[in-house]
């Protein structure tokens, strides 16, 4: 469901700051470039792969784009880790992306709810277990792909320190992990944030930074309970704010 009624603007809540919005947009762009330049290398025998390779100027050009996007992805992943570490350690950000026992309980409760064994879905906080799962998959799988990607990019240097067998292992890890992340994103994440009846046609909060109060109550009821009235109503979102204010206002 979508909340676009002008009269309800005061019912909107700032959920993400400009930093997280830009970070997510960058991740989408890099994910698309890496997919478009990576999948034709894995499935090189398909006609569509050949077409993509030809359009992008040949396999050498395709690999150049893939390497550039890979380096930018590595930078994005590193800054995310460093920013979150600094934020949690020194700026009092809440470590809301950490996986807890409650996430397992939420997942279990949702399965019970889906099967009709429970009458209400899991009550989630700032991030649901699904969002945490995708996040950690991208972070852990991403670092696996960064390391294996550099081994494949610089095989001569890598084999100065590692046994030669690490080259085919890296190739296996790189392509399989990429497939895992690609398929999870296009199935689970796209469903959860685009196609799910709860958010259809799109959960815009990561693009606009704001979410409707009703939707917040439905998707993140525990976070909604924690937010005080004065802290959450939109005015600052309408008038603009700094990144530092975002960090104070929204938990990372």
């Amino acid at each position: 469901m979508e909340y676009t009624d002008q009269s309800n603007r005061d019912e909107q809540i700032r959920r993400f700051g400009i930093y997280r919005i830009i970070e997510h947009l960058a991740l989408i762009a890099l994910f698309m470039v890496l997919s478009v330049t990576g999948l034709p290398q894995k499935f090189y025998y398909l006609g569509i792969s050949q077409s993509v390779i030809v359009i992008l100027g040949g396999i050498d050009n395709l690999r150049l784009f893939h390497h550039l996007a890979g380096v930018l992805f590595a930078v994005l992943a590193m800054q995310n880790i460093i920013a979150n570490f600094v934020g949690v350690a020194f700026l009092r950000w809440e470590p809301s992306m950490l996986v807890t026992l409650k996430d397992a309980q939420d997942a279990f409760q949702n399965v019970r709810y889906y099967l009709g064994l429970d009458d209400r879905p899991a009550q989630c906080g700032r991030y649901t277990y699904k969002e945490k799962c995708i996040y950690w998959l991208v972070i852990i799988g991403g670092f696996q792909m960064i390391i294996s990607g550099f081994v494949l990019w610089f095989p001569v240097t890598a084999t100065q320190f590692l046994p030669g067998m690490f080259i085919p292992v890296s190739k296996m890890v790189h392509t399989s992990e990429a497939m895992l992340i690609f398929l999870l994103v296009v199935t689970w994440h796209i469903y959860d944030s685009v196609l799910s009846p709860d958010v259809f046609p799109l959960n815009k909060s990561i693009f606009t930074g704001i979410i409707h109060r009703k939707q917040m109550k439905q998707l993140h009821p525990l976070e909604m309970e924690e937010k005080s009235e004065t802290e959450t109503v939109l005015p600052s979102a309408r008038h603009g704010h700094t990144m530092a204010e975002d960090h104070k206002r929204t938990r990372q």
């Binding site: 290398q41 090189y44 025998y45 050949q50 390779i53 030809v54 040949g58 396999i59 399965v111 709810y113 889906y114 099967l115 009709g116 095989p155 001569v156 084999t159 100065q160 590692l162 046994p163 030669g164 067998m165 690490f166 080259i167 085919p168 292992v169 190739k171 296996m172 890890v173 399989s176 992990e177 497939m179 895992l180 398929l183 999870l184 199935t187 689970w188 469903y191 799910s196 009846p197 709860d198």
Partner: protein, 113 residues
């Protein structure tokens, strides 16, 4: 894989393909060496020399990246084999599991209406 990719790129698009290793670069003609036996060490040195012509600076570890003409198994390239089997099992289980959860979510939504 690179060899296959270059071969797929026809001359029509990019002209002649760049220099790439083919069977006879390593084997010669009618003098294909045995892969086991006393001259294994000698063969590795020759292979390194061949690899270095396109990969200058390659160390003696480098030729081990080549899996010969065998499919990985517990006896040949076990690390590659175990990694391959891990993903062969994990990938379908994960994706089928996620699709199952998505379908359950949709089913529940329509049951609630």
């Amino acid at each position: 894989m690179t060899l296959s990719l270059y071969r797929k790129e026809t001359w029509r698009h990019y002209g002649p393909p760049p220099a790439m290793a083919v069977c006879t670069d390593c084997h010669g003609t009618h003098d294909i060496a045995r892969v086991s036996g006393a001259d294994m060490r000698q063969m590795k040195i020759k292979l390194l020399k061949r690899c270095s012509s396109c990969h200058p600076g390659a160390s003696e570890n480098f030729p081990d990246a080549w899996l010969s003409h065998y499919r990985p198994s517990f006896t040949i390239a076990p690390m590659v084999f175990i990694t391959e089997q891990f993903y062969r099992i994990m990938l379908p289980i994960t994706i089928v599991g996620i699709l199952f959860l998505v379908l359950l979510d949709i089913w529940r939504y329509y049951k609630n209406r």
